[in-house]
């Protein structure tokens, strides 16, 4: 199971990297969010997948799953959600002002 997830993470990161390298702003943002999703999966895997019963005190089950990675992911998702929302607004404003979403044309010159 861990191996499968590892391959999936690799796939997501490579697609994300490919998208980041493109010139369109929207693709860049999608690439970033794919990479952050891959990272979230990585955190989930870091605690070990399905090693015991849910982390609640109960009669049955002596081994429990690690609940810390899940708490970490929750925080990471919320933060990434906020940053992605901000990035989308920022790119929209940039597109409005410059009239282009091509990153090559956003380089600017030395004397501004």
């Amino acid at each position: 199971m861990e191996t499968l997830i590892a391959i999936l993470i690799g796939l997501l990161v490579s697609i994300g990297t490919y998208l980041i390298l493109s010139k369109e702003m929207l693709r860049l943002i999608l690439g970033l969010s794919l990479i952050t999703h891959a990272v979230n999966l990585l955190i989930l895997t870091s605690g070990g997948l399905k090693t015991g019963s849910p982390p609640l005190l109960s009669e049955e089950g002596t081994r429990f799953s690690d609940s810390i990675p899940q708490a970490l992911i929750l925080t990471a998702i919320v933060i990434n959600f906020a940053v992605t929302a901000f990035l989308l607004v920022l790119s929209y404003r940039t597109y409005k002002l410059y009239g282009t979403d091509d990153l090559e044309q956003l380089r600017g010159n030395a004397n501004e």
Binding site: L32, I35, G47, T75, I79, F86, L87, R93, A110
Partner: protein
């Protein structure tokens, strides 16, 4: 347990939240944000006294004992930085009163300023690795908005680059945290230190350490600095001064903390890599600083040289070198705010960033000119200013640790800094006065006070170093003896 530790985080956070509601009342916003930063500074002075008397202070939030809960840890190093950050923050805030403009003040400038301070103070105080990530994000998100606030063309473009770089590096931060957690099974810094020491720092852990180094290097502008000159020169002066003084320093703090508390077992790999990166940073930053004719570009490249020099001292990792590094870190926070504020005033007065278009300001603005000259001497390490003492300690430490090449590069950097700063001084202040007072594009009325305060501070820090150095030596001792930190966190209880 010391509840005072939460104050530097809670005061700016709560005040910032209240200020969102007081959007139209600019006067009240100014007063409350000034008061909040002042109280933060006072609480850090009280904390520093307590640490001096009773050792490292801790606070386990919610009563959850370490390593299960998230704890705050205040040692000399962290609290000294909070105190400096509060003073620098106050100066930048006062500068913004007269320069930032009504439009930004109505658009949540002060709340964002305070959220940034929350993130900075939180990063200094936290004793948990994931919490460090969260506070990094708090200050980064505040800084994203501050870079783009006002929505000028150049600001939006630079904000775009800045955000993308930081999102990528934050992802790597999470990757490193996940790896470290799967190896050690804990995120508490003190607990991590114990676990890593028990298992010995093998190859796998060293790779994780280098991954952390890459992440923090991006934030600290150590070698991975190409995002910095654009992002720091785009926003208004008060904001870029705050960024130059505080943001890279948080990354530097994280490198100091991680590589003195957790990953200190393989210095021949990790610390040498830090040394090499620092030397390259100093040289490339120096080239940038002497090459440009744009005031803000020159100053931002000086930020990069500063980061390199502080981490060069850390690479030697001895009592003297660390004392010098921490002293230089504090000096650097003050002096970077100072030169950015003066540089911003020059741009304000002349209406241009290009050094070729300005001349002879010293006749109309003698105070500004002489304070810039004092800053030039201080930043290039000439006594009696504060830069001198830091450089002496760092160079001494580097030579004693046989890092001769790094020490020589560090000394050479002083020349590059001096050249770049004198270039501004000679072009902007000397020469024919081409701009009479009536023709000036702006006024420096009300801007002089914070500049004067910071100049006085850098002179005082140099003249009365005798009184400050003992504190800094204790901070360096704390970094060299991780056991002090661990004992304070676990307080003698059983460690699982």
């Amino acid at each position: 347990m010391n509840n005072l530790l939460i104050l530097p985080i809670v005061i700016p956070l709560l005040t910032g939240m209240v200020l969102i509601l007081l959007r139209d009342k600019v006067k009240l916003q100014r007063f409350l944000s000034f008061l909040a930063l002042f109280l933060t500074g006072v609480s850090s002075i009280i904390l520093l006294n307590q640490i001096e008397e009773n050792g490292i202070q801790t606070l386990q939030l919610g009563g959850w004992e370490a390593p299960y809960g998230i704890g705050l840890v205040g040692d000399h190093f962290a609290v000294l930085l909070i105190l400096t950050a509060s003073i620098v923050g106050l100066c930048c805030l006062h500068f913004s009163f007269n320069s930032i403009g009504e439009a930004l003040e109505n658009h949540f400038f002060y709340p964002l300023f305070l959220f940034l301070m929350t993130g900075v103070n939180g990063s200094f105080l936290t004793g948990d690795l994931f919490n460090l990530y969260v506070f990094f994000e708090v200050l980064l998100i505040a800084s994203y908005v501050l870079v783009s606030l006002g929505g000028k063309k150049v600001q939006l473009r630079e904000a775009m680059k800045y955000v993308v770089i930081n999102v990528v590096s934050s992802s790597f931060f999470l990757v490193a945290i996940a790896y470290l957690y799967s190896v050690t099974g804990t995120l508490n810094l003190a607990h991590l230190s114990i676990r890593v020491a028990e298992s010995g720092q093998d190859g796998f852990l060293t790779v994780i350490a280098l991954l952390f180094l890459m992440v923090f290097a991006t934030k600290a502008a150590l070698f991975i600095f190409y995002w910095l000159p654009g992002a720091y020169s785009a926003p208004p002066t008060a904001i870029s001064a705050l960024f130059a003084a505080l943001l890279t320093k948080v990354g530097i703090y994280a490198i100091f903390r991680m590589f003195s508390l957790v990953f200190y077992h393989e210095p021949q790999i990790t610390h040498v890599v830090i040394g090499i990166l620092a030397s390259v940073t100093i040289l490339l930053g120096g080239l940038g600083a002497i090459g440009f004719w744009d005031v803000k570009k020159i100053l931002t490249y000086n930020v990069i040289i500063g980061s390199g020099f502080i981490l060069a001292g850390f690479a030697a990792f001895s009592q003297d070198a660390l004392t010098g590094s921490i002293f230089y870190l504090i000096h650097d926070m003050i002096i970077k705010a100072l030169i950015f504020l003066i540089g911003g005033s020059i741009i304000f007065l002349t209406g241009t960033k290009n050094l070729r278009d300005m001349s002879g300001l010293i006749r109309t603005h003698p105070q500004l000119g002489w304070m810039f000259f004092a800053a030039t001497l201080s930043i290039s390490g000439i006594p009696p200013f504060s830069g001198f003492i830091g450089k002496v300690f760092v160079t001494k430490g580097l030579f004693e640790a046989d890092f001769y090449w790094l020490g020589i590069i560090g000394l050479f950097s002083s020349l590059l800094i001096l050249y770049s700063m004198l270039k501004i001084f000679m072009n902007a202040f000397w020469g024919e006065t081409i701009l009479s007072e009536e023709e000036e594009k702006g006024t420096d009325k009300g801007l002089i006070f914070p500049i004067f305060l910071l100049t006085a501070l850098t002179i005082a820090l140099g003249l009365f170093a005798e009184g400050v150095v003992p504190f800094i030596q204790h901070a360096a001792e704390g970094l060299l003896n991780p056991d002090l930190y661990i004992d304070a966190v676990f307080n003698g209880t059983w460690v699982p």
